[in-house]
């Protein structure tokens, strides 16, 4: 097979301003976290979907995201050991591996990606958005840390709409529960103007992120909206939304991407810029992190670019129009949580994916089904058939796991992908979809 990436050393890639900036931001963040016991900073653990970073910052709390820690453990190939550790301690082999990776990591001394111990949380902000496992996960952490736990429920958008009752319920939870408890834990009084300021900052970064994501409508696409997209969403889905750092990062990123569009360049991969775009895909489902580079390589080696993905919407569906709005701060936070991808009904997911295929002129849909994750996986086979039916484009299904290396079979995935690309070719040449 002919590699379609031009040979350029990876070091050159790292010189991108946005990448350097993100690296520095992440390092500084983990440093803030691990030095919390010395600095006296208080730590709030919370989840990515529906995360309330702007609110957390209002109380000078440092945001710790166990999901991101699990991803980091996956990327650094440590999650496998952590998961086994949790299973030895009595956790079932059947359940979400993010939880087990986190618990195993805790049992092994809670060492973060910077090699230093992560602090105990002072508060668990259980934002229950789009996944029931979150409930159990933080009950499990609460059992260990015995710290205050704030529960914040986001009603499910089952009928494709947000009702007044949903918003009222959430705003009331903010006012009567979340904010008073955060005040108590932090000793900082809540200032709504401070929140407004952060929200305004968020909206700026969100505009630029959307511009970057939608740049994939170009041909060739200057970005990979799944593998690359995961890096792009990092700051805004994590502990940086609402900071000037994030605004700046997305400004840089936007400029870089615009530049690539101008030059007609494809995405940057770990092996350098992609030379030729042969296939444009929409991907549904989270990636595999334990073999992330290997997984990505299977795409770029074949000239396949992901032009849109649902996973990059778990922390917000900005491309569908949502922006944090300082003029109605608490309502806006509520709407944000309600809108995240995993809080959307199956029909909404199907519509979103079908629209992506049409709007980004993709060749088809690829689903990466995650053994661990019922929130994503239950229903994906219907999603696949329905999107295929609506768009007339072929779809394919692969199965891996987020952070459990036992469920990543490179040979299987590669086979599936190769036959999928053949299917796309056949479809293009008018031969129909091979069985």
């Amino acid at each position: 097979m002919k590699p379609t990436t031009a040979k350029k050393p990876a070091a050159e890639v790292l010189k991108d301003d946005s990448m350097l900036k993100q690296k520095a931001m992440m390092a500084a963040h983990y440093e803030r976290l691990s030095s919390a016991p010395e600095t006296g900073a208080k730590v709030c653990s919370t989840f990515v979907p529906g995360n309330l970073n702007e609110l957390i910052m209002c109380f000078d709390l440092v945001n710790n995201l166990p999901e991101v820690n699990a991803i980091q453990s996956g990327l650094r190939k440590q999650s496998g050991g952590y998961i086994m550790e949790a299973e030895r301690a009595g956790h079932s082999e059947d359940v979400c591996t993010y939880v087990k990776s986190d618990i195993g990591m805790m049992m092994k001394g809670n060492i973060g990606p910077n090699g230093k111990e992560l602090p105990k949380p002072d508060v668990l902000l259980l934002s229950y958005t789009g996944c029931f496992t979150f409930l159990k996960w933080f009950e499990l952490l609460r059992e260990q840390y015995k710290c205050p736990t704030i529960f914040m429920q986001t009603p499910y958008m089952a009928d494709g709409k947000i009702t007044k009752n949903m918003i009222d319920y959430m705003v009331k939870q903010f006012k009567e529960d979340v904010i008073p408890t955060l005040e108590q834990v932090s000793g900082v009084k809540f200032d709504i103007d401070r929140l407004r300021q952060y929200l305004a900052e968020s909206a700026k970064a969100e505009d630029d992120l959307v511009h970057v994501l939608q740049s994939a409508k170009n041909k060739p696409s200057p970005i990979d909206a799944y593998f690359g997209g995961i890096y792009y969403i990092g700051p805004i889905f994590g502990a940086f939304r609402g900071t000037e750092d994030a605004t700046e990062y997305y400004k840089f990123l936007r400029e870089e991407v615009d530049q690539r569009v101008k030059l007609g360049l494809g995405p940057v991969t770990p092996d350098g810029p992609m030379a030729e775009e042969k296939y444009r895909l929409v991907v549904e489902g989270p990636p595999n992190y334990t073999s992330f580079r290997q997984f990505w390589k299977m795409f770029y080696e074949e000239g396949a670019t992901v032009v849109a993905s649902s996973y990059t919407k778990v922390g917000g569906t900005y491309d569908l129009g949502f922006r944090h709005d300082p003029s109605k701060p608490l309502e806006s936070l509520a709407e944000y949580c309600l809108n995240v991808y995993t809080n959307r009904s199956l029909p909404m997911r199907i519509e979103m994916l079908s629209n992506y295929i049409n709007e980004y002129e993709a060749d088809g849909l690829l689903i990466n089904s995650i053994k661990s994750c019922n929130s994503f996986s239950a229903g994906q086979l219907l999603i696949m058939r329905e999107v295929e039916k609506r768009t007339g484009k072929p779809a394919a299904f692969i199965e891996t796991d987020l952070v459990d290396p036992r469920y990543f079979s490179a040979a299987n995935v590669k086979n599936r992908l190769e036959s999928y690309f053949q299917m796309v070719e056949q479809k293009r040449s008018g031969k129909g979809i091979a069985a």
Binding site: S92, T133, E139, L140, L381
Partner: protein
């Protein structure tokens, strides 16, 4: 009037349980023009509201071990539990074609997503994800829940083509209070004379409540309690256990029988929780929707699918069940791939360890066939309980 025998009652319940075409509910519907049936899945829905609309709430608990799943597997990967696929099978095979609406309670991500699949697969049937609060303060979760119930009532009025008054709801609450009392008597009998009311029979009696009109079911439960307490079955040297984890996908009947055969008296459990979810009478005075909400917030059962806001209270519900039923141990029987049950289990086990309550754990699926390992495990457990208590 001749009294019904235990075996007559149990055979009737067994026939209802095995009937995957739900003929009892079909007949109820056909008996009068305009009657409607609203299906619901585990865990809990306020059946009082459906009843108040003059409709039959029909509990759908998957397909069990008798249903051949032909289409359902095409909808789910192997690592997802069985109840959604067998429920889809019931739907696409036409077994639910008489059902006028389906409710998908907020229990886990699988059922949640199934609610959307149902909308896609059966676009002409009313279907609703029934959201409930996981926060229990009156002015927060209570208000949300009351409004959700009012929205649901509004939908029901649309289907029924008539208004549902507060008096209608109060009357239905009274009828369900009666049912809850009868079921409480059944549990009391199981605790005082477990040899006379085995779990496998009680389970069938409870299951009948999912398909029969509630008034008829209350009578059936009472008949069973009367007949079973009059029996003189041999008392065995069994161990008293609480069985937990079966709140959603159902165990094969054989599994319950196997536990009994291996020496267990199941003196409490989480079978068919909808029928015991509200723990006391719901007041029939005042605002009925508010009353239902209050009962849900403050006097409902605890289970893995529910958030426990108070760390110190975590697991205590189960410990109390053990103490109140004078049980000697707990059996965790969880559905394979069930995140709520399986993630909850280690926490519950820690609480039991601290309370000095022995336990065992295993997994099952609704179509599990091989009972030998479970029987052996339960048998060993019973032996160890006896040894321990003899020591």
């Amino acid at each position: 009037m001749t009294e019904k025998t235990v075996s007559e009652i149990v055979s009737r319940c067994e026939a209802l349980y095995e009937d995957l075409y739900f003929n009892a509910a079909r007949e109820w519907k056909a008996a009068k023009p305009g009657r409607k049936v609203i299906g619901f899945m585990p865990l809990y829905v306020p059946r009082e509201l459906i009843h108040a609309a003059g409709m039959l709430p029909l509990g759908i608990m998957g397909g069990g071990d008798n249903l051949e799943v032909i289409h359902g597997d095409a909808y789910y990967q192997s690592y997802i539990c069985r109840i959604p696929r067998s429920t889809i099978e019931l739907g696409v095979s036409g077994r639910l074609d008489f059902v006028d609406g389906m409710l998908f309670p907020s229990i886990c991500d699988v059922i949640r997503n199934l609610s959307g699949m149902w909308k896609m697969l059966f676009p002409d049937v009313y279907s609703k994800y029934f959201d409930v609060p996981q926060t229990y303060r009156d002015e927060i979760g209570g208000e949300f829940y009351t409004n959700e119930m009012r929205e649901f009532l509004h939908d029901l009025e649309g289907i029924a083509g008539r208004k549902i008054t507060d008096d209608d709801i109060r009357a239905s609450i009274a009828v369900y209070n009666e049912n809850r009392r009868a079921i409480a008597e059944l549990y009391a009998l199981r605790q005082s004379q477990p040899w006379n009311a085995p779990a496998s029979e009680a389970y069938l009696v409870l299951r009948a409540g999912l398909v029969l009109p509630v008034e008829e079911h209350t009578q059936l439960v009472r008949d069973y309690v009367a007949a079973a307490s009059a029996e003189q079955r041999p008392v065995k040297d069994n161990s008293r256990v609480v069985l937990t984890g079966m709140f959603c996908e159902q165990p094969p009947l054989n599994l319950i029988k196997s536990l009994e055969l291996s020496g267990c008296y199941v003196v409490n459990d989480d079978f068919v929780l909808v029928s015991r979810w509200l723990m006391d009478d719901v007041p029939t005075e005042g605002d009925p929707v508010h009353n239902l909400s209050q009962a849900f917030l403050h006097r409902s059962m605890s289970t893995a699918a529910k958030y426990e806001p108070n760390e110190a209270e975590k697991g205590q519900f189960l410990v109390r069940q053990v103490r109140d039923a004078n049980a000697e141990g707990v059996i965790f029987a969880s559905t394979s791939f069930c995140d709520p049950a399986l993630l909850d289990r280690p926490m519950m086990q820690n609480v039991l360890k601290a309370a000095d309550v022995p336990f065992i754990a295993f997994k099952y699926a609704e179509n599990s066939g091989q009972m030998q390992p479970i029987r052996e495990q339960a048998g060993t457990f019973v032996d160890s309980i006896k040894l321990w208590s003899a020591a």
